[in-house]
């Protein structure tokens, strides 16, 4: 397996910790990458789903109980719907049934309060792809048709979510950068120790005409192999972790119904990009370790007389 050209120069106790350490580092990097990619995925998903839509909110008239106010509410709703129908740039407007709005609020307010509280009427608007919508004039005309009506294009909420997701992604990148640095330092340390341990052999190799790159090749091959082994182990552990997280989250969701964080984790879609990242990381670890070992040996040897 090692080949006849292997001088076993690099194989000493100083490199024994490398596979384990690189497994841990690649594991952390993989989780950071999956986390970052997932956060980004959420944002682009929300963006795509919300970009073509608006929500119009018609405030309730104060007394929900009596028929008069109910009729007034219906009238305001119909006025808004009529207006929307003739507004250019709108493909479809669909009022959200009162029961659905109540179901959205129920987890926070409780079933009693939701039934008695006057709820605003919501209209879900799909924008047309072909025609731009003049939001300002629409808002103005809505105000005329039904005072107090607001128009929400989700921009503020989306901006917040994007900022959050971006910081998650940046954190992921920072983790990957730190992990790479740690890998480089570990390889440099292992290689320096190896050079020290094998000082005599290296002197002999030099005396019989071995160029520095011949010696460097011994170290870089061995270090690369160790890094590959560690990297693959780390990646496999990361995949297992993500699958386990999803499985736990799905389980929780099944018991408690859709609720916040668990839903988010359950919806992590381990897609092509994540697979690529998880496969690329051990490769990157191998390449980084190989190049670091080479550079480290070459620089150390160049300092010899």
């Amino acid at each position: 397996m090692w080949g006849r050209n292997d001088l076993a120069l690099a194989r000493d106790p100083s490199t024994r910790f490398l596979p384990g350490l690189l497994a841990v580092l690649v594991y952390l990097a993989a989780l950071a990458a999956v986390g970052g990619l997932t956060a980004q995925g959420f944002v682009s998903d929300w963006d795509r789903r919300l970009a073509g839509s608006l929500t119009i909110q018609i405030p309730p008239t104060l007394n929900t109980g009596d028929d008069a106010s109910r009729a007034a509410s219906a009238e305001r709703r119909d006025a808004v719907l009529r207006l929307l129908k003739v507004t250019p740039g709108i493909a479809d407007a669909r009022p959200i049934p009162e029961a659905d709005s109540a179901a959205l609020l129920e987890p926070w307010l409780g079933p009693e309060l939701v039934r008695t509280l006057p709820l605003p009427l919501l209209v879900d608007v799909r924008l047309a792809q072909s025609q731009p919508l003049d939001r300002e004039s629409l808002a103005e005309r809505l105000e005329n048709a039904a005072p107090g009506t607001t128009l929400d294009d989700h921009a503020r909420w989306l901006a917040d979510a994007q900022a959050l997701a971006r910081s998650v992604a940046v954190t992921g990148l920072v983790v990957i950068a730190l992990v790479s640095m740690a890998a480089v330092l570990a390889v440099v340390f292992a290689v320096r120790t190896g050079l020290g341990v094998h000082r005599n052999e290296i002197e002999v190799l030099h005396l019989i005409g071995a160029p520095d790159r011949f010696i460097a090749r011994q170290f870089q091959r061995h270090t690369g192999r160790l890094a590959a082994v560690g990297g693959v182990i780390g990646s496999i552990l990361a995949i297992i972790t993500v699958i386990a997280l999803r499985w736990t989250a799905t389980d929780t969701t099944a018991v408690t119904g859709p609720a916040g964080f668990a839903t988010l984790i359950a919806s992590i879609d381990f897609g092509l990009r994540d697979w690529l990242a998880v496969i690329a990381l051990p490769v990157a670890a191998t390449v980084i370790s190989t190049l670091t070992a080479r550079a480290s040996v070459m620089l150390s040897l160049a300092r010899l007389p």
Binding site: R4, N5, L7, A8, N200, E201, V204, L205, H206, L207, I208, G209, A210, P211, D212, F214, A302
Partner: protein
Amino acid sequence: MSFFRHGVRPRSGRAEKERGASSQVVRFENVFMRYDGGPVILRDVSFELEPGSFHFLTGGSGAGKSTLLRLMYLGARPVSGNIRLFDRDISGIRRAERPAMRRRVGVVFQDFRLIPHLSALDNVALPLRIAGTREALIREHVPELLAWVGLSGHLDALPATLSGGQQQRIAIARAVIGRPNLLLADEPTGNVDDRIAIRLLYLFEELNKMGTTVLIATHNESLVKRFDHPRLHLEGARLSRVQMPSAAAPARPGNAAARPA
């Protein structure tokens, strides 16, 4: 000895040209040598080694034989004086050029300097692997040479499991396998009996016949007497040429005459 005849070592055209045009393989001019704070080891040493020559280097223990060899394999630099190796001033050789230069010099170190975790075969194969020789050729020539020095049964043995004499023969095989232009041997027969010593000397002579310049440091007087080669003698930090009794005869091919029947 087909391990020599096949010309395992890839030779560059430039090296051939240099060799063809060169007047001397080694040339020392007024070389002084001492290690930091130590006594003067070489004082005003001047000599030349002609291409294809065969010399013994004699002198008592501590006379500076090893240091003289070390200067030739670029293992140390002189305090003053001029050393030319293959017609190049060694003070002008950059670090990056040293490996190519050293590959033209085969060295048998007094303390063997074998790589402890490599087998006999892998130790001997090192110069070839460094030179990038094909593995098939290595598998063919290295066992052949090791058989010739009497180690055919120890190809996979680690140096530590072998006797001093056996390790010495591995060191010699490693020095000659690449057919160097210059062979430097430091007490190469110090750990073997006379019968093997003579056999090893034949090996050096065989290499010498193919054009390698040979310099053997030894204090084995009987061996020096047995082989009719000119002799450089170190004493009191000075080097002198000792004329052999049979110096009237041409130094080579008188070799054959010096061989015992």
